[in-house]
């Protein structure tokens, strides 16, 4: 999935901010395997917030560089890993 497709799926999650971490709980039509609860750290929450229907992966990686002490290669890897994991979670819901 790309960031636009993921944005359209954000309403399929309930969220709760606990401290600086964001818990994502997917909507599902069956008894859930709750081992797959997604807990996002500060950077993960930032990526989630920036999946806004406009930003693509590169935009989000650049925004991470602007807001955290991290170089662009690591930011790109973080964004790619996040999107892959979220896509897998959505596919399993």
């Amino acid at each position: 999935m790309n960031t636009i497709e993921l944005f359209n799926k954000k309403s399929h999650f309930a969220t709760r901010l606990v401290g600086e971490e964001l818990i994502l709980v997917p909507l599902t039509d069956r008894i859930a395997d709750m081992n797959e609860l997604f807990t996002l750290n500060e950077v993960g929450s930032f990526i989630w917030d920036n999946i806004d229907g406009k930003n693509n992966e590169e935009d989000i990686a650049n925004a991470i560089v602007d807001n955290f002490e991290v170089d662009i290669d690591i930011a790109r890897k973080d964004v790619a890993a996040f999107i892959q994991k979220l896509s897998e979670m959505i596919a399993n819901c």
């Binding site: 606990v18 964001l22 709750m34 081992n35």
Partner: protein, 292 residues
């Protein structure tokens, strides 16, 4: 036609069962200790029972949620207008509907359609698994959760033990019982917030037990281990791990958000421990040695 009523109090919830059917409403034995002698109650939920299942209700419409295990369906939930329609399946026969139940949108009234269970025309509106479903939807609309857990009260403190199947919930409860503690339940509990404090309740099971209530002072996410250990956890880790053991129908985001809010507040007030244990009596003093 005479309205037949039976009132129950389960986990502090007032439940009114009523029927226009000429036969008395019947309850499984395990519900009878929860019956109230009071005629007039302010009911948290009303369960209105009807005999027979009209064919018009057997159209499935839009599936919202289904609970299945090993080819057996426990129940299916469909959207019907603003209400929820439940198909409740006979657990002794594959894919045979035993009841159809309609729950209104504010989760306050159930209409339960059942075929008479015997030649006397008796109907059992809370026949498993509908009874636990009625209780679950009471927790959804109030400050509460239903959890797969055992709970004990040792005369001073109430402790809850939860974990995956086989983690030792019942084993732990019976170890405490041997040391003189009272088991609240060894499998399923309702946790409620009452006047700022958390309490745990038992609910009717397959066996008969009296209503029980105890304060909740600590929660243990347990597993069998080679030595006893306890680690206090907090924050998102505690919330997400505790959520895993709550009973949830996650087709509705507002249901999830209520549970998340309840569990988050619970984790701020009650200590949560990851507890590894050897199934021997020593675990009792080991846990007691930690100040809750």
């Amino acid at each position: 036609m005479q309205l037949r009523r039976t009132n129950l109090s389960i986990a502090g919830y007032k439940i009114r069962l009523q029927s226009e059917w000429s036969k008395l409403i019947s309850l499984e034995e395990s519900y009878k200790p929860f019956c109230l002698s009071t005629k007039n109650i302010s009911a948290d939920v009303v369960v209105h029972s009807y005999s027979e299942i009209p064919s018009r209700l057997l159209k499935p419409l839009d599936l919202l949620f289904e609970a299945r295990n090993n080819g057996q369906t426990f129940f299916s939930i469909y959207r019907q207008g603003l209400s929820y329609k439940f198909f409740i399946y006979d657990q002794k026969k594959i894919n045979k509907i035993q009841q159809v139940a309609i729950l209104d949108d504010d989760l306050c009234k159930w209409d339960v359609y059942s075929k008479p269970q015997n030649q006397n025309g008796e109907i059992f509106p809370l026949l498993y698994p509908l009874g636990p479903l009625v209780l679950y939807y009471l927790t959804v609309k109030s400050d509460a959760v239903m959890m797969h857990a055992s709970g004990i009260f040792d005369g001073e403190k109430g402790r809850l033990f939860t974990g995956f199947s086989g983690a030792g919930k019942s084993t732990m409860a019976y170890l405490w019982q041997k040391s003189g503690a009272k088991i609240i339940n060894d499998d399923r509990l309702i946790i409620r917030k009452e006047k700022g404090d958390y309490v745990m309740y038992n609910t009717p099971m397959m066996y008969v037990d009296i209503p029980k209530r105890a304060p909740l002072n600590s929660i243990h996410l347990i597993k069998h281990a080679s030595e006893n250990s306890m680690e206090k956890i907090g924050g998102a880790a505690a919330v997400s791990q505790l959520m895993a053991f709550c009973i949830q129908h996650n087709f509705n985001s507002s249901f999830i958000e209520r549970h998340l809010t309840f569990i988050s507040e619970l984790c701020n007030q009650i200590p949560i421990y990851k507890t590894g244990f050897v199934p021997k009596s020593e675990i009792i003093d080991f846990i007691k040695s930690y100040a809750d």
